[in-house]
Symmetry: C2
């Protein structure tokens, strides 16, 4: 049985959480996680480039089959929305450069996928991340969120694989 | 007297106009212009990557000293703002990758810089692009806007150079 590698990402200009998991059958394992925090004293282009270089290192090292991104909120504040757009645009281009398929997951869907409730608290989600990966969840909320998105993405990937197999038979 | 090469960009997901000019003293010359229109049937990551690859070709070929970007409007529509953010994020990262300094110019500032009025009509701006570059302006409004931003950027670059020279003397 082939193992799937999924990269989860929780995008942000200050802190972008990331987590890599693998799935073989129903078995999930934690591979790596971290947070990318570009220096805040640089201009926006350099901060985005810092983020992209870190992501490139992660993509080279882990070669994920799928990237699962936490969906960017359309904020009431236009400037914040635009900045989130910058980050996401930079990440999306990098995924495309590495030929990694990207799927978006709304925060509500991630929560529901892990806990059964779209309105679950952060602590509940973190608890389930720990249970499903069989290891204490990361202290960093950004990395923990990224792992939660990766797990959500792994469910989707498995469903898709099942459907593809079904449609082939 | 050293010549400055300025790349002007009018960013958009459907059409990104670009134009390269050079400035030696007060003399502006048109070098090249065009419009990048990523295929609309691809997903957003691939469209952004298409845009970036085209930009990389332009940066390699023209090696600009400065990139002047038309400032992205914070739209009332959050989704549109986010998409403009994607494009801008992808462009900014690429400029940083090539070590090209980026300056933003609001549309009003571009108009004022070229015509003396921030409320000038498109046709007036296009007319001035033609006059200042000594050649008929491009038919494409996106390319023409990009050249207008490049010209605005060249003014700024010249002022800056003068100030730097002044502060050195």
């Amino acid at each position: 049985m082939r193992s799937l590698t999924i990269l989860g990402v929780d995008p942000g200009l200050r802190h972008t959480g990331w987590g890599v998991i693998s799935r073989r059958g129903n078995q999930l394992s934690l591979r790596a996680f971290g947070v990318i925090s570009p220096p805040t004293d640089q201009d926006i282009a350099d901060r985005l480039f810092y983020l992209v270089k870190e992501l490139e290192t992660i993509l080279s090292q882990w070669q994920p089959d799928l990237a699962a991104l936490e969906e960017t909120f359309v904020n009431v504040n236009g400037k914040t929305t635009l900045q989130l757009g910058f980050v996401r645009g930079a990440l999306l281009v990098t995924m495309a450069r590495f030929g990694v398929r990207v799927r978006d997951f709304a925060p509500r869907m991630v929560k529901k996928s892990l806990t059964g409730s779209g309105a679950a608290q952060k602590a509940q989600v973190a608890g389930m991340v720990g249970v499903l990966l069989g290891t204490p969840p990361p202290q960093s909320p950004d990395a923990c969120d990224a792992l939660a998105v990766a797990i959500c993405g792994s469910h989707e990937a498995t469903h898709q694989a099942t459907h593809e197999t079904a449609s082939l038979s």
